[in-house]
């Protein structure tokens, strides 16, 4: 990402572009949509309670394509206590150049394939925890070249915190014998280290089960020492309709980070996005699972868990969604860490997030 001043400069430049585009489009062709949210976060951490009230307004202008160019935008206005913040989740131009599709500007870069945790995503380890909601939105240039209806190549380049830090990614995706298959390669130059990582992933069906998996290898050159690690993931999902018409959806996956011989004990790693892990052993293994139960058409309950097998600590995220109407949704989400002090999920954390949102 840019430095703050550069970020604001590019942001204002893009605001100017959006205004010019709005002026140049006929008023009838414009449509505005968005989401207004009211959030309450109650957090219990280190024997202290904290309550945050946050109001958010997401605004999106739906502009018609003009001369093969479209402007995608999603602006976020956040009000928390006395602080007002305006950010652009999306503000990019999209243009077809021959067979290529180019996207330039603030955009989400997602290499999702349906897993609960994506250890081989583009944004791996690049963001800080407080930027979690913005983690996938980067200032980037993306070129996409379709080979046929099911295959394509993607090249992405993005800036990090400083202009000297940059990240390049290449991804090929296709479908073979009913399986979605992709391969990616990333070079991430950061101030303290350089990460090179290649990975493969696939998703398909095995009888009534959905199955997926990923494998990868990362080489890190760091001023804390050079090291390597392998990534392995295997997961499955299944849904079942009960005679009452209620639906149960289950997904579970195993993730293994296997560290090379160069790793020093007690070294810290950015193994998962937004999560720095202190490794005591040569491997880090996780089990992640999600269970969703549709109570009826308007409400559902869910439970996601992440268990760190090395120390037995776990994180539980129970959730509840309720639609008051087509556009008014209540979401409740809890976070509970279970583990003794010093373990990965050993912090004394209990949190409850309530989000009431209205879309228009």
């Amino acid at each position: 990402m840019y430095k703050k001043s550069q970020r604001y400069r590019s942001f204002y430049l893009l605001i100017l572009i959006i205004i010019l585009l709005i002026i140049s489009f006929p008023a009838a062709a414009l449509d505005i949509g968005g989401k207004a949210s009211f959030k309450s976060d109650i957090v219990y951490e280190n024997s202290e309670w904290e309550n945050k009230i946050i109001s958010e307004l997401e605004m999106q202008l739906f502009l018609p394509e003009e001369r093969g160019i479209s402007l995608e935008n999603l602006l976020l206005l956040t009000v928390e206590s006395d602080e007002v913040k305006l950010d652009a989740k999306k503000l990019y131009l999209k243009k077809n150049i021959g067979a290529l599709t180019a996207k330039i500007g603030r955009q989400p870069v997602s290499w999702a394939y349906g897993s609960l945790i994506n250890p081989i995503d583009y944004t791996l380890g690049a963001e800080n925890l407080e930027e979690e909601t913005m983690a996938k939105f980067v200032d980037a240039v993306e070129l996409y070249y379709p080979i046929n209806w099911k295959s394509g190549l993607t090249l992405v380049g993005s800036d990090q915190e400083d202009q000297s830090e940059n990240k390049w990614g290449f991804r090929g995706r296709t479908m073979l014998a009913g399986y979605d298959i992709s391969a990616n390669y990333i070079i991430n130059n950061r101030e303290d280290d350089e990460i090179k990582r290649w990975a493969l992933n696939t998703k398909g069906d095995l009888g009534p089960l959905g199955i997926y998996g990923a494998a990868g290898k990362a080489d890190i050159s760091s001023n804390r020492g050079d090291y390597k690690y392998n990534i392995f993931q295997l997961g499955s999902d299944y849904s079942y309709n009960f005679l009452s018409g209620r639906r149960l959806y289950i997904q579970a996956e195993y993730i293994n980070f296997n560290l090379g011989p160069d790793v020093k004990r007690d070294q810290k790693f950015d193994l998962l996005p937004d999560m720095e892990i202190e490794i005591d052993d040569r491997k880090a293994e996780f089990i992640a699972a999600n269970l969703t139960w549709d109570i009826d058409d308007f409400s559902s309950v869910g439970l996601m868990t992440v268990n760190y097998l090395e120390d037995g600590s776990s994180m539980f995220i129970p959730s509840y969604n309720y639609y008051f109407s087509s556009n008014l949704l209540l979401e409740l989400r809890g976070t509970i860490f279970v583990g003794s002090r010093g373990k990965l999920f050993g912090e004394e954390i209990r949190a409850l997030e309530m989000n009431l949102s209205y879309t228009f």
């Binding site: 997602s110 999702a112 349906g114 639906r247 058409d297």
Partner: protein
């Protein structure tokens, strides 16, 4: 004078009665247009057709080679409603749908063969959906992804036989039973259909599991003649496994055999 007043009062009563009856008649006619199948011009009735010929004539009306449509789904449960709007493009093998209502705006689906892909607009995730999801209700509705996105000729998938002829909601109808053709992959093992004997459009359909259990009932509330073919434009689907729920599917606009945008059924278009 008294007689004049009497005549005036009689005239007034007659007028009120006439107006009242006319409005009731108009209301009845409106209800019959909306709650029952619309009665418009009749085609030539045929009584000597085989089951296959009847289904083929229905397919001529309802089977889509290519189409663009705009539709609304109203999901009802115990008196409450969720409304979803969508536009879709389909040919005889593939379908592409995009939701346009505020909550789901930008959510897109692509179905090619047995594979279903979904695009989530906020993070621009493009994910292949597991096969078991095809049987689940699309966006929480009583229509499965398979119901919404498949357009196969029924004669290719089921062996039909005529069960009889009966009236359905005031329309003369053939009643047929279709059992799945061995080796064909279909969502429902058996279906019983009521087909309008004059217009050759489905009026009601009961969908059964192999065990014999009734899974869903679709009732056509309104058909329209579009481009010289009768087509159901308002259908209610009830999932018999669920209580007090139904999904109404309203076709607001449909164009048959349009020129489809280039590469519409591709992952590139889904992004």
């Amino acid at each position: 004078m008294k007689n004049k007043i009497l005549i005036f009062l009689l005239m007034l009563i007659l007028t009120i009665t006439l107006v009242f009856n006319l409005s009731v008649l108009a209301e009845k006619s409106k209800i019959s247009e909306t709650e029952e199948v619309k009665v418009q011009d009749n085609d030539k009735s045929t009584s000597e057709l085989s089951a296959e010929e009847i289904i083929t004539r229905r397919d001529e009306n309802e089977y889509i080679l290519t189409a663009y449509s705009e539709a609304e789904m109203i999901i009802r449960n115990s008196g409450r409603e969720l409304v979803k709007e969508m536009k879709s493009w389909q040919d005889d093998e593939n379908a592409f749908a995009e939701f346009t209502n505020p909550r789901d705006r930008g959510t897109k689906f692509l179905k090619r063969d047995d594979a279903l892909w979904m695009f989530f607009p906020e993070a621009e995730d493009l994910v292949k959906i597991s096969g078991h999801m095809l049987e689940q209700g699309m966006m929480g509705s009583d229509f499965s992804y398979q119901d919404m996105l498949e357009s196969d000729e029924l004669t290719e998938l089921y062996n039909f036989k005529i069960l009889g002829e009966e009236e359905y909601e005031g329309r003369p109808a053939y009643k047929l039973e279709g059992v799945k053709v061995p080796d064909k992959e279909v969502s429902y093992y058996r279906r019983v259909v009521w087909i309008d004997r004059e217009r050759f459009v489905g009026l009601k359909e009961e969908l059964y599991a192999e065990s014999g259990r009734l899974l869903k009932v679709a009732r056509v509330l309104e058909v329209e003649k579009i481009d010289e073919r009768w087509y159901p434009v308002r259908t209610i689907m009830e999932n018999k496994l669920r209580q007090n729920t139904s999904t109404e599917f309203l076709v607001k606009n449909i164009k048959f055999n349009p020129e489809l945008p280039e590469n519409i059924f591709s992952l590139q278009n889904l992004r």
